[in-house]
Structure formats: C-alpha cells, structure tokens
C-alpha cells in the first residue's frame, strides 16, 4: 500500500500498537533547553529513574540567555540560576551540554541541524513547540511538554495518536523579494491558526524543492502556528549535502547506508492525504501580520480588516480599520529567532541595506541563531554591514522572540520582527509585533516604516 512520508516515519517507530490510532512511539532524539526541563529532571528524581540513552540527548541554553557580551556575568539572577541548573542536571544524568561560552551554543532548533543531530527518518522531540522545524529534514519532529520530556528521557518512548495528513503543494516559483517566511505566513492565513490541528503537514511542490534547507526550516518551524505540531519536507540531495560531514551525522560506510535509506522516505507517488491544499507560489506577495495571531496576515499591498472585525487584536495593535499596512511607522526591528536566525536570513537582510542606515528613532537588533551562524556571518562581513547601518550585532539566543532575557520591548512599541509569534505581550508587556521576512524587516528598519521590500530591491 502506498504511504506518505509521515506514514513511513510513524510505522518505523511503533513499539506497541495500542489500536485506535494509538501507538507507543520510539523517540530517537531529544533536544533540551533550560526552560522546559527543570521539572522533567525533578520528576526523574522523584521516581528514582535514570536517562535511558543519554547519547540520544543534547542540551543547550537559549531562551533566557543574555545576548550582550558573553564575557560578562549574567545580570538576571533567575536566568543565571536556570542556566546553571540545566548544566548541573545534564552533568548528573550524563547528557551532553553545549556550553554558553562555547563555539556551538545557539537556539536549540538551529543547533540541532548544525550538529547533524537532526537526521532524516528519525523521531525527534523537544520541550518547545517550534520543534516542527526539524521536519525540514524529513524527521518526525514535534514539541512536547515538560512531563513528556521526562517520559522520553526515562523510556525513550511516548504514547502518541496518529495524526491525519495534509499536503500543502506550492506550485510554481516565488517572485524576487518573497521568501519561505512569506510562504509560511500565506499558508497560515489560508488555513487559520487551528487549520492544521490534528494534522501532520507535508510541504511539497516545485517551490519547496527550490528552497534551501534554511528556507525549509523556516516553513516547517511555523507549521505550529497553523496548529500542526509537525511540518515535513521530503529529504533530497540538498538535505544530504547539508548534513554530510556534520559532527553528529553518520560518516563513512554508515553514511552511505543512511542515505540509501533516506532516499526511500519520500511520499509514494500515489500516497493519499486526508487533506490537500495547493498554493500558487508566484502569487504570494511579501506578508505582514497585523493582529495578535499569526494567521492575521495581509500582503504588503493589502488593507487591514474593516470596521468591527477582529476588534480586540486591532485595538491591541493600535490600528485603524481598513487602513493600509504599508507606511505604518515602527519603533523596533528584530532579526533573529529559530524561524529566521540562520545565515541565509542574515544575508537576505543585509542585501537590502545597501549603504542605508536605520531610520531615526528605530532601534534595530540582529541576533544570530547560533555561534556558528554568527562566526560565518562575520567571516562574510555581514556584521560590518549591519553595524555600519546602525543595527546592534548580538550574541545568539531566543532574545526578542520570547522576551525572557533583558531584550524586551516597552508597552506600545511597534516592532517589525522575523520571529514566529505576534501574540499579545510576546516581545514585552503591551508590545506590538508585526511578523515578516528578514528582508522586509531590514527594509522597514531603514525606512522607519513598513514598506514593500520589492520596491527597495528595484
């Protein structure tokens, strides 16, 4: 019987078939960070349990880490204690930890692929909803809660319900100035913030094949904003080329065997999906969110909802009904996060600057997704482009995507942001977030208002 990529991943990991779509699923890999695991380790201690396979776990601090000078002590005592606790827990239970001061630290969803820890064909979990990112490699990856993190550490399994499947086919090619972020926002707007709930979403089509691994990660990252815990892209030559030679990827003979297996993972030609959606990639314009849910997005040349619609979000965001989104003045610009903090994102943003300078009254931050991204960007001179244009060049972390460290916006501040959530208060109490692509954020930072990057690129 023909099977989808999701079916193949699921079937290969069933330890016990519980009937009725339920299975005890084997979990191959677990990523840990400082925020969602203190209580998981505590549960292990309470139950007197050990970590079953420490070698399948990898930990890093990202959410609460400061993004200023790493040689300084962490100024927030609560954050310092939380990071120290992760380090202690990892030492006690034998789990590898990438230190804050080291060359490999970064956002958990950036470092997993960088390290070759993320591989096609595996199941991967993390106490973070953006774990869907890793589906870009053809891995069954999903976010879980802290209790489930404890279960995975102790048993290497989780009881799961098989998802329905949805295929989103992006036909044709993107216009210049339009990126994976715009595809993600257009998809979410099309299906709604809960349109993907209960589904594993596979992204397919010419525009997906044309995307880099970075772009595929951006798209899968945001599957959760449509309610789907799992985004997927079939692994291909780009996937293998990205992974080959990475520290934790297989090598030598096992590499060849792995690739041979990975080539069999793509959905069969006649695989049947519970739901199919087609989106013409060429018709996607740069997207901007206006509200407080990621599905509340419009094209840059579009207008805001009319009178009475979405009252609370429009009021929170301080927007007038029916107005244009283009031209809206901003106070802050943020380039970074597990959605858009990779090298390609920084290159796209830098390419828009072209000798321009951040507008008066705008504060602009670039927070690379990892130390490796930062180093590579510096080797290319991107840091100098950003700094010369008046952007702050920071150390890696989640930063203004979750506002748990000292990077927080004041109430009422309006931010053009490459992050993934425009929820109320997400970037600081009362702050207002407009999600868009790295190129769009860079263009907004220079213009001081939301603009169409396609015009900036002419």
């Amino acid at each position: 019987m023909s099977r989808s990529l999701y079916d193949k991943l699921w079937d290969a990991h069933v330890v016990v078939d519980g009937g009725d779509g339920k299975a005890l699923l084997y979990i191959d890999r677990h990523l840990l960070h400082e925020v969602s695991t203190p209580q998981s380790f505590e549960a292990l201690r309470e139950d007197g349990l050990e970590v079953r396979r420490p070698v399948t776990q990898l930990a890093v601090a990202d959410h609460s880490v400061p993004t200023h000078d790493r040689s300084l002590a962490i100024d927030d005592p609560q954050a310092a204690a939380q990071i120290a606790l992760l380090e202690r827990n990892c030492a006690e239970f034998g789990i590898a930890y990438l230190p804050l001061q080291g060359n490999d630290q970064g956002i958990v969803h950036v470092i997993g692929p960088e390290q070759g820890f993320t591989l096609p064909g595996i199941t991967l979990v993390c106490g973070d909803s953006h774990t869907s990112t890793h589906g870009a490699f053809g891995a069954l990856a999903f976010g879980i809660g802290a209790s489930e993190c404890g279960t995975v550490m102790a048993t290497q399994t989780l009881w799961q319900t098989r998802a329905r499947t949805m295929r989103v086919t992006f036909t044709g090619a993107l216009q210049p100035g339009v990126s994976a972020k715009d595809m993600a926002l257009a998809f979410i707007a099309a299906v709604g913030s809960s349109g993907g709930t209960g589904h594993a979403v596979e992204f397919a089509g010419e525009a997906i094949e044309a995307l880099s691994m970075e772009g595929r990660m951006t798209l899968c990252n945001m599957a959760i904003e449509a309610g789907s815990r799992t985004g997927l892209v079939a692994p291909d030559e780009k996937t293998f080329a990205y992974l080959e030679g990475r520290p934790r990827a297989p090598s030598g003979e096992t590499w060849e065997a792995a690739v041979a297996h990975w080539r069999t993972l793509a959905s069969d030609a006649d695989a049947v999906f519970d739901r199919e959606i087609a989106i013409a990639a060429g018709e996607i314009a740069p997207q901007v969110t206006f509200g407080t849910s990621p599905d509340q997005a419009v094209s840059i040349d579009g207008a805001l909802p009319g009178d009475g619609a979405l009252k609370r979000p429009m009021q929170y965001m301080g927007l007038a009904a029916g107005a244009a989104i283009a031209g809206l003045p901003i106070d802050h610009a943020f380039i970074g996060s597990c959605t858009n903090g990779r090298l390609e994102d920084l290159r796209a943003a830098a390419s828009v600057i072209r000798g321009g300078h951040v507008a008066d009254g705008v504060r602009a931050l670039v927070v690379p997704g990892s130390m490796q991204v930062k180093r590579q960007a510096e080797a290319e001179g991107l840091d100098r482009v950003f700094k010369a244009a008046g952007f702050e060049w920071r150390e890696p972390g989640c930063s203004l995507c979750v506002a748990m460290n000292s990077d927080r916006l004041p109430a009422g501040a309006r931010c053009a942001s490459t992050s993934n959530r425009n929820f109320e208060g997400r970037q600081g109490v009362g702050s207002r977030t407009h999600l868009m692509s790295p190129a769009m954020v860079a263009a907004a930072a220079i213009a001081g208002r939301i603009v169409d990057v396609r015009e900036a690129l002419v």
């Binding site: 016990v16 909803s129 489930e148």
Partner: protein
C-alpha cells in the same frame, strides 16, 4: 497524578478565541523552575482588565473557553498555573494540541465539543449554574440540557480515572517491547547507534 472522575461546580466563561499559552502564562515567569504555586501568574497581563473572570481566589473548577484554547508555546506552566487555581476541566471547541496533551499529564480534563454545545454550557456558566462532568460516563450534565456526551481517548481516560504516572507505567508494562524495538533498530538503522 491527581485522579479525576467527577467534577461538579460552577464554571468560568472565557469566550475569546486563540487564547495562547503566552497569555495564560507570560514568558517572563518561565524563569521560575518550580511547578507548584504558579496560579498567581496565570493571565498576569489580563487579569486586571475589568470583569476578567479568572484569578487567585477562584472557586470554580470548570472553564468554558473559546476555540483554539492553549495554542502556541508548549509551556506546561500553562496547565500548571490554571490547575493551581483549582480548574480541573476545560471545555472548548478546539485546543492547541500540546496544551491538550499537557492537561492529561496533570490530572486535568480538556473536553472538545461542537460550538453550539460549548455555547449552551457557556450560558449556564454565565448564569452561575452548576455543571457536572462525569468522566466514567463521558458526559457533561448541566441545567435542563440533555446530557452531552464527549469523546476522550480511552488510555487517557483510564490514566485520569486511576491517577497513573505515564512514565513508570510505560516502564512497568513495556520494558521488553522497548528492548525488542531497540535491538531491531540497531540492525536496521545502525547509523542511529554509533
């Protein structure tokens, strides 16, 4: 884990759609590494709004929420905080999936119902009526409404009824299955075992 079989009492109504876990438990409180006593941070940025229905001192064990409740971040602090306010049952048209799972791990029951049924219960909640949730019978009984049946996966229902710990239960029942799976995977996918 706390058992849950029958929950009876008045209910809170929060009809907003897409109440995300950042709203339920703002990120700055995630620096706290405990799981107990988090109720005081629940809805921290909304509870001062006039008429906001949820807060410390709550004595209603049931929440009638809006669609897509608990979407967004996987933070289990969201159900911990709501649970700490004494809420055991949440009824909504739909839930964020991770939040939905997290509830079961904490002795809480999320119930998905069709919109018109959620709205019938909301009217009873707003009129300060009493609602009875019976997990054994998989039914909600309230006012003069006919009993409302709800679906819940049987393993989750049993776990709540019995107060099972998922982790120790998997180890007790499936240690041999896991070992067998691992031996087979080692042969089939040796690159995952080097």
């Amino acid at each position: 884990m706390n058992r849950l079989e029958r929950v009876e009492g008045q209910a809170i109504s929060l009809p907003d759609a897409d109440v995300d876990t950042d709203v339920i438990y703002p990120a700055r409180f995630l620096l706290i590494t405990e799981k107990k006593g988090l109720g005081r941070y629940a809805f921290a940025d909304r509870r001062d709004e006039p008429g906001f229905p949820i807060g410390v001192g709550n004595d209603r064990p049931i929440l009638i929420a809006g669609p897509n409740f608990g979407c967004g971040s996987s933070r289990e602090q969201a159900p911990w905080a709501i649970g700490d306010l004494g809420i055991r049952v949440i009824v909504a048209e739909s839930f964020g999936e991770i939040f939905y799972s997290n509830c079961f791990r904490n002795g809480m029951l999320p119930i998905r119902l069709e919109r018109d049924r959620v709205e019938s219960l909301r009217r009873i909640a707003e009129a300060n009526g009493t609602i009875l949730v019976d997990l054994k019978a998989k039914a909600v009984i309230a006012g003069d409404l006919a009993p409302i049946a709800f679906e819940v996966a049987d393993d989750r229902r049993q776990a709540l009824l019995n107060g099972w710990n998922d982790t120790t239960r998997i180890l007790a029942l499936h240690a041999a299955d896991i070992a067998r799976f691992e031996a087979a995977q080692k042969r089939a996918a040796p690159w995952l075992w080097t």
